[in-house]
Amino acid sequence: MSTEQTVLGNETQEYFINMGPQHPSTHGVLRLLLTLDGEIIRKVEPHMGYIHRSIEKMCEKDSYQQIVHLTDRMDYLSCHINNEAVCLTVEMGLQLEIPERVKVIRTIISELTRLASHQLWWGVMGMDLGAITGFLYGFRDRELITDIFEETCGARLTMNYNVPGGLMFDIHPNFQKRTKEFLAYFKKKLPEYEELLTGNVIFEERTKGIGYISKEDVISYGVTGPSGRGSGFACDIRKLHPYSAYDRVEFKEILYNEGDSYARYMVRMDEMKESMHIIDQLIDNIPEGDYKAKTKAVIKLPAGEYYQRVETARGELGVYIISDNKKSPYRVKFRSPGFSNLSALDTMAKGCKIADLVAMMSTLDLVIPDIDR
């Protein structure tokens, strides 16, 4: 900054701006303390915790069945995957044999969740860049997925469809039909997304080369999910440690090496196609069987430590449960993807402009309850 000052020959003064907690593009109550030089960002200091509900502490009082519904409220856009993560951890501790049917249904719904999350993200990304129309289109298509969820799981957002050992109830008879209808519909709509934003010259100008982060930094900051894969960090837990039915489906791990906003955007766009591909493979092959393994009414995990990693729509979610053989866990830790992703924002944003920061935050796809827990 000193060079610029001497070049300009006049003194410039840095100033601070509070972006948030109430701001249209922080997508929740996140506060960013920006140090600015004109419009150029010198430093971004995130302040979070505005909706910290201490879910980890609450878990220490709850039974294992009850923990699941709390995770709905962390990353509410990939709530099913969060539920699944907890259930998988508990099942690992109990060494339960999970029916194949459950695994496949979980995978399908996980991928639908991912699709819904990415649709919403796409809409919000457009809105942050000023293309408000995209927001409505994203929500229009997401509505159809939430309808599927509502019919099968009983809720649109906080579904709580998993219980340790399986699912709360079997899929709705309409589930397969509706899902196939949706896939047929969305395969037509996804190219519209591309035409409206991806190829747009203004969009390309706004995202290409903006918010660069190197692969080393991404690994060091623990930026996972599509944000990490945009920098070439192969971190897809579905590939690294396959869980549920991911070991039997064929899909690509989307990797881009550019590390800029556009790469992160493209990862998600391509991931939507991969998600549809995964559902395509599974939707007609749901095996018959029970929707739930037999569990006791009061679950006690054997004493020990259990760690399960899953891939949510935002990245790697880790569930770390320490049990002391009681009906509530001794300690639960959620390694939420948003928390680590946010920490890299400062590195990305240095030297960019305010408008770029908004685009960057969109490409990180932050969900604030996920960060604050």
């Binding site: 910290h52 930094d217 060091s220 623990g222 690294l240 430590e305 259990y306 770390y320 680590s340 920490s343």
Partner: protein, 153 residues
């Protein structure tokens, strides 16, 4: 490297490190605060171990002591290890930061400080992260009481 080789290597570097015999999900290495940073540094930069990705950092209150747990993995070699540092001093728990090795630790250590009160030496910006700055006590500790906010069901 498989778990046995890593175990051998760690013990060669630091014979004091305690490695529980029972096979869990990961290879556990329990160390004291003094040797945490040197060990972490070796694990991070040694070509054979190359643990470059810290995917989870959590604090645990074992009542008798506090513990900070580091889940590490290597992005190119694929092996995993769990480093645990046992801090006996509950009143003034201190451990070296690993921010310089894995930048993600910066936020995660702030969280552990916030909720458990573990002070990380040399941390660039050790402040509360989730709770407000004037919060009293460390809520995730087992002896934390708050009659107003914690409702016993």
């Amino acid at each position: 490297m498989n778990n046995d080789q890593i175990k051998e290597k760690v013990l060669k570097w630091f014979p004091d490190a305690e490695i529980p015999a029972e096979a869990g999900q990961f290879l556990n290495v329990i160390v004291t605060p003094e040797i945490l940073h040197p060990l972490a540094e070796k694990l991070r930069y040694d070509k054979e171990t190359h643990f470059d990705y810290l995917f989870c950092l959590s604090g645990v209150d074992w009542v008798s002591n506090l513990m900070v747990v580091y889940h590490l993995t290597s992005t190119n070699l694929g092996h995993e290890i769990v480093l645990k540092v046992k801090i006996a001093d509950r009143e003034n728990p201190e451990v070296d930061t690993v921010c310089d090795l894995w930048k993600t630790a910066e936020f995660h250590e702030r969280e552990v400080y916030d909720l458990f009160g573990v002070k990380f030496k040399n941390h660039p910006d050790l402040r509360r992260i989730l709770l407000e700055d004037d919060w009293e006590g460390f809520p995730m500790r087992k002896d934390y009481t708050d009659e107003a906010n914690i409702v016993e069901l």
